[in-house]
């Protein structure tokens, strides 16, 4: 008898957590270690249900906290296992040293982050502050726009993480509630297609600890030249990961008919004079506003940042060259800079752009679970257009406080 829970090969209405659970199921992980935290919990609950119903053959481990969860995955990865966990906000903070250890030891762990505001002030609502805070911890970070993208990107994440040219852990990040608890139409791939897509990993070499052939890892590193060498190699792997994601995305499109542009997605940018930059779930709303502005004759385009780490610098330089004005919508803040994270990232590119640099403005929106409405996005666009016309505009606008 078929299992109603098993939606593989079907089209279903799923929220982001459940869509993500299918991405994990289809990738056939060996070990899952989990600790519940809102808004990620239903993702792991669904995976547990898969295991209980016999759909998933994986070791399920429930440790006493997130730090141990990541520690368990490090061990499982060291012996060659495919691993998965998920967390949010303070859970991510609590696993911080194991999170660093995973990246530094080049363990290709995949972890979902259902993004939630980071303390303090206390809040369980959506934000991106938790994930962007750990941008320099050595993980690859991909940011999602839709439930379908969560499912698809989790499968792609394994192809990227376990590639022998990369060997880095990957975060698939999606805003809590807006995606984690929001239902959309989702095409769930067939198991044989997912297996086929992940097949190249079977022939790839990976550092592995076995009883017959033990290895030393995570020991004290000396001399400084060796330490520097490991840092250098990890930076080089991050550089390689950018083109690799573009390649994997193209493969995915060829197989499943869906693609996301790899590191960044450009929407109606070819002849655009003005561009807005988004990351995460607000992108869908922004597309609608861009279409509306296009109907009014405004030469406006959208750039969605998918890969936040490593930085998609080269693709952004290409995409932003020749534009007159760029408005960035940020769902996080950077203390001491009085702006969001993507604003700083893009500001560092301005001198590398061909032609005169565009006006660059930042719009902070959606903190603490606030809606990034079409109205707010429209105001961000109008501010960007006004700056392009030479009108005096603040560099940073806190949209919900205006």
């Amino acid at each position: 008898m078929s299992n109603l829970l098993d939606a593989r090969g079907q089209v279903r209405v799923l929220d982001g957590n459940r869509a993500g659970a299918f991405g994990v199921l289809l990738s056939r992980p060996d070990v899952i270690a989990s600790y519940p935290i809102t808004p990620q919990t239903p993702l792991l609950e669904t995976i547990y249900k898969f295991e209980a119903d016999g759909l998933l053959d994986a070791s399920m481990i429930e440790p006493e906290g997130e730090n141990s969860a990541m520690g368990i995955l490090i061990g499982a990865c060291a012996v060659g296992g495919r691993t998965f966990t998920a967390t949010s906000s303070q859970g991510l903070s609590f696993m911080n040293d194991a999170y660093l250890l995973a990246a530094g030891n080049r363990f290709p762990i995949v972890m979902a982050i259902a993004m939630r505001e980071q303390v303090s002030p206390h809040g369980v609502f959506a934000g991106q502050q938790d994930a962007v805070l750990v941008k320099d911890h050595g993980w690859i970070q991909l940011y999602m726009e839709s439930c379908q993208e969560i499912l698809d990107s989790l499968i792609m994440a394994y192809r990227l993480a376990e590639d022998s040219d990369i060997l880095l852990p990957v975060n698939v990040c999606y805003e809590g509630y807006y995606l984690s608890h929001h239902s959309q139409r989702v095409e769930v791939p067939r198991q044989e297609d997912a297996d086929d897509f992940l097949l190249p990993l079977k022939s790839m070499k990976r550092l592995k600890w076995t009883l017959d052939d033990p290895m030393v890892f995570s020991s004290y590193t000396f001399p400084p030249e060796l330490f520097t060498e490991y840092r250098y190699k990890m930076c080089a792997a991050h550089q390689r990961a950018k083109g690799k994601l573009d390649e994997i995305d193209r493969d995915f499109r060829a197989k499943f008919g869906r693609g996301y542009g790899g590191q960044i997605e450009e929407y109606r940018t070819e002849d655009a004079e003005f561009v807005i930059v988004t990351m995460g779930s607000a992108t869908g709303t922004a597309r609608v506003v861009v279409d509306r502005k296009r109907e009014q004759g405004v030469k406006l385009g959208l750039i969605k940042i998918r890969m936040f780490r490593p930085s998609p610098r080269e693709r952004l330089i290409q995409a932003l060259s020749g534009k007159k004005a760029v408005g960035v919508i940020d769902r996080s803040v950077c203390y001491g800079w009085n702006c969001g994270h993507n604003y700083i990232e893009i500001k560092t590119l301005l001198s590398d752009l061909q032609g005169p640099p565009p006006k660059l403005l930042d719009f902070i929106a959606g903190l603490g679970g606030g809606d990034i409405t079409s109205d707010l996005i429209e105001r961000a666009i109008d501010g960007t257009l006004a700056a392009a016309q030479g009108k005096d505009q603040p560099a940073v606008t806190w949209l919900s406080l205006e």
């Binding site: 030891n105 080049r106 550092l207 290895m215 030393v216 890892f217 020991s219 000396f222 060498e229």
Partner: protein, 88 residues
């Protein structure tokens, strides 16, 4: 580019370890009196550095990694391990 390790990450093999011999930090060394040792293995279990090796006759600290903390001596129920000051 000059590299020391043939591996991508901070990994190495037991035959060619690329690590720090933490035994160099030691100010005192554990000495096991073989006759007193009851082979109970408490030192093996308690050693925070995991550097007590089990041999056929008894348990021996690996002085490449032993930092000389003295936990093995403290927990030994047979009082078979004494700490002797290192000469520098």
């Amino acid at each position: 580019m000059k590299f020391i390790s043939k591996f991508e990450g901070p990994w190495s093999t037991p035959k060619e370890p690329l690590d720090v011999k933490t035994g160099e930090w030691r100010a005192q060394r554990p000495v096991v009196k073989d006759k007193k040792c009851r082979q109970c293995g408490w030192c093996f279990i308690y050693c925070p550095a995991g550097c007590i090796r089990e041999t056929e006759g008894n348990f021996v600290p690996d002085l490449d990694y032993c930092k000389g903390c003295g936990v093995c001596s403290y927990v030994c129920p047979a009082k078979a391990i004494t700490l002797v000051r290192e000469e520098f």
